[in-house]
């Protein structure tokens, strides 16, 4: 009789051995906290470096001039001048072209996959779309420069060999999977019961999609757009290769333009010596880029909260 072991005893005996486990249980939160702080510390480090070097830059160049002047000649020996406007218009215009491609195509793809495609089609198509996301950006840049630009020049003879249009389009193609995949996830997580409710009222599939599913998923959809925009603003390789390095202040997308990111590449790749004004300008531009994406994300957060239909 004494040989039968009760579960109760087993559990109690194990408890005694587990003092060590208890100690570990108490220390684990600290370890987790320490690891989690790495990313916070990195952010703080980056921001403070940016701030400091930007401060140094603005001791030499007036901040008003930086934002109002339209001449960007950082390496001119005669009369260097610094202005972020050409880079800002370059970034905004190319991102705009990219989003004009990515949003309509990405969203319709998401609608098709989530509302119309059969399960088997969706399972086949989704991985293929996601392959697009895995292509290195240098390949996209090359594709824009050697393939898309020549084709576009057949239709638009005025197009320069490096221009804003072609990298914009290719960047849009690159962002499609991001928009499609995230929007599709958002739409897919709208409960089926809601679609049924609308269908049972005599709604067509399109009416269900446009008036029930999309409004219910809107915060996720907007989040996908914003991630797409942030991606476009931060994208470097495609524009470095295909949009050239001219720092003209222009709104003509057939011309060569430089984005903020491409400018940083150009300056860091050795044209400006450390400690020169041109070198510090890099930080000012990087800081502007940082603020730009930050504002973008905050704006998106606001929009998606405002239009959110919580279910």
């Amino acid at each position: 009789m004494g040989k039968t072991v009760s579960v109760k005893d087993l559990i109690r005996n194990k408890d005694k051995k587990n003092k060590l486990m208890l100690k570990a249980e108490r220390t684990i939160p600290f370890i987790l906290f320490a690891l989690a702080s790495i990313s916070i510390l990195t952010t703080v480090g980056i921001v403070s470096t940016l701030l400091y070097e930007t401060f140094l830059f603005f001791r030499e160049v007036s901040i008003i001039e930086f934002f109002t002047n339209t001449n960007m000649k950082p390496l001119s020996r005669v009369e260097p001048s610094f202005s972020i406007l050409p880079l800002l218009t370059g970034t905004i215009l190319i991102s705009l072209v990219a989003m004009l491609v990515a949003i309509p195509i990405g969203l319709t793809t998401a609608i098709y996959l989530s509302e119309y495609a059969s399960e088997s089609v969706r399972k086949a198509v989704k991985p293929i779309i996601e392959v697009l996301a895995g292509i290195p950006t240098i390949v996209y840049g090359f594709f824009a420069f050697t393939f898309v630009t020549p084709i576009l020049r057949e239709f638009i003879p005025a197009l320069q060999s490096t221009n804003a249009l072609s990298p914009g389009i290719v960047m849009g193609i690159m962002i499609i999977p991001l928009v499609a995949s995230l929007s599709e996830d958002a739409m897919n997580s709208v409960p089926k019961a809601m679609r049924e409710g609308a269908l049972a009222l005599g709604a067509t599939k399109l009416e269900v999609t446009l008036r029930v599913v999309i409004p219910a998923a809107i915060s996720g959809i907007i989040a996908s757009f914003v991630l797409g925009i942030s991606r476009a603003i931060g994208e470097t390789m495609i524009v470095t290769i295909a949009s050239g390095s001219s720092k003209n202040f222009t709104f003509d997308i057939t011309q060569s333009m430089q984005t903020m990111t491409a400018y940083i590449v150009e300056v860091t790749s050795g044209d400006a010596g450390a400690g020169t004004t041109a070198y510090y300008s890099l930080y000012a531009v990087a800081f502007a880029l940082f603020i730009f994406t930050l504002l973008m994300n905050m704006f998106a957060g606001h929009i998606s909260r405002k239009y959110r239909e919580a279910y």
Partner: protein, 272 residues
């Protein structure tokens, strides 16, 4: 309300099943349905009448939900469904190519097991149906919303919060809101798939009272797990078992003198 008595022994009505001059709203003829290889509905024949409450009872998996979803063709949202036979709605076969499914669903409303309001305001929930059918005039929409909410006996509770999100309502209120949403397109028939199974007893009572009132203007077909509920609110009851209709008769008869042994076993709680 006398019809709310819990007893299943309702006094026998004088009329029998052989009523002649009632309008048939739904007539199911030789209906068979398969999910893949699973023969879910077997040779169903059921006439259903205007301004009556028809209850469909039976144990889980007997096909009662499948059947009610076939009546407005919602069942076709499931993949691999195959249907043979016909269902006549007001003498038109609902599977006919000429009969648009959206038209059918506009005339035949549905209330689901779990309340499924849209994540919109109370007003927009009710106005959704009229809006998709092209009604844009704000004044008319307002009237429809009030009328529908009154019709579903929820107006007094929500009239001051029409522009708040419907998800702030309690479960029972949400279900009555869904009934109101369905009334807003002025249907002819209302299908209810276990409309009170997710509700507490008090809300259930309210919905049952509402069904009694709605009967004046609508024909109602209700699937229920709750036999007392069927006894309390329905005029006719169909007993489903393993995809077949075992018995279909006046509710009084089904609950007092069923002719099939299996019906009797089920309603007396011997299985199910």
């Amino acid at each position: 309300m006398s019809s709310l008595s819990i007893s299943t022994e309702l006094p026998l009505k004088k009329e029998t099943t052989e009523q002649v001059n009632k309008t048939v709203v739904y007539d199911t003829k030789n209906l068979n349905l398969w999910y893949g290889n699973n023969h879910a509905l077997k040779n169903i024949n059921l006439p259903m009448y205007k301004n009556e409450v028809t209850a469909i009872i039976g144990p889980s998996g007997c096909g009662k939900s499948t059947y009610i979803k076939t009546l407005n063709r919602m069942v076709e949202l499931v993949q691999n469904v195959r249907i043979s036979g016909e269902i006549l709605y007001r003498e038109k076969n609902i599977f006919d190519k000429e009969f648009r499914v959206e038209e059918l669903r506009t005339r035949v409303g549905m209330v689901f097991q779990k309340p499924n309001p849209f994540p919109k305001t109370i007003f927009d929930n009710i106005a959704y149906g009229p809006r998709i059918h092209g009604i844009k005039d704000k004044k008319i929409l307002k009237e429809i919303v009030e009328k529908s909410l009154r019709g579903a006996a929820i107006w007094e509770e929500v009239k001051d919060r029409l522009h708040e999100n419907a998800y702030g309502l309690s479960g029972g209120q949400q279900q009555r809101l869904c009934i109101a949403r369905c009334l807003a397109v002025e249907p002819d028939v209302i299908l209810m798939d276990e409309p009170t199974s997710a509700l507490d007893p008090k809300s259930t009572l309210k919905v049952e009272e509402l069904i009694q009132e709605l009967k004046e203007n609508y024909s109602i077909i209700i699937v229920t797990h709750n036999m007392q509920q069927a006894a309390r609110i329905s005029d006719k009851t169909a007993f489903f078992l393993n995809g077949e209709v075992i018995e279909y008769d006046d509710t009084d008869i089904i609950f007092s003198t069923p002719s099939d042994k299996r019906t009797e076993d089920y309603i007396t709680g011997r299985f199910g």
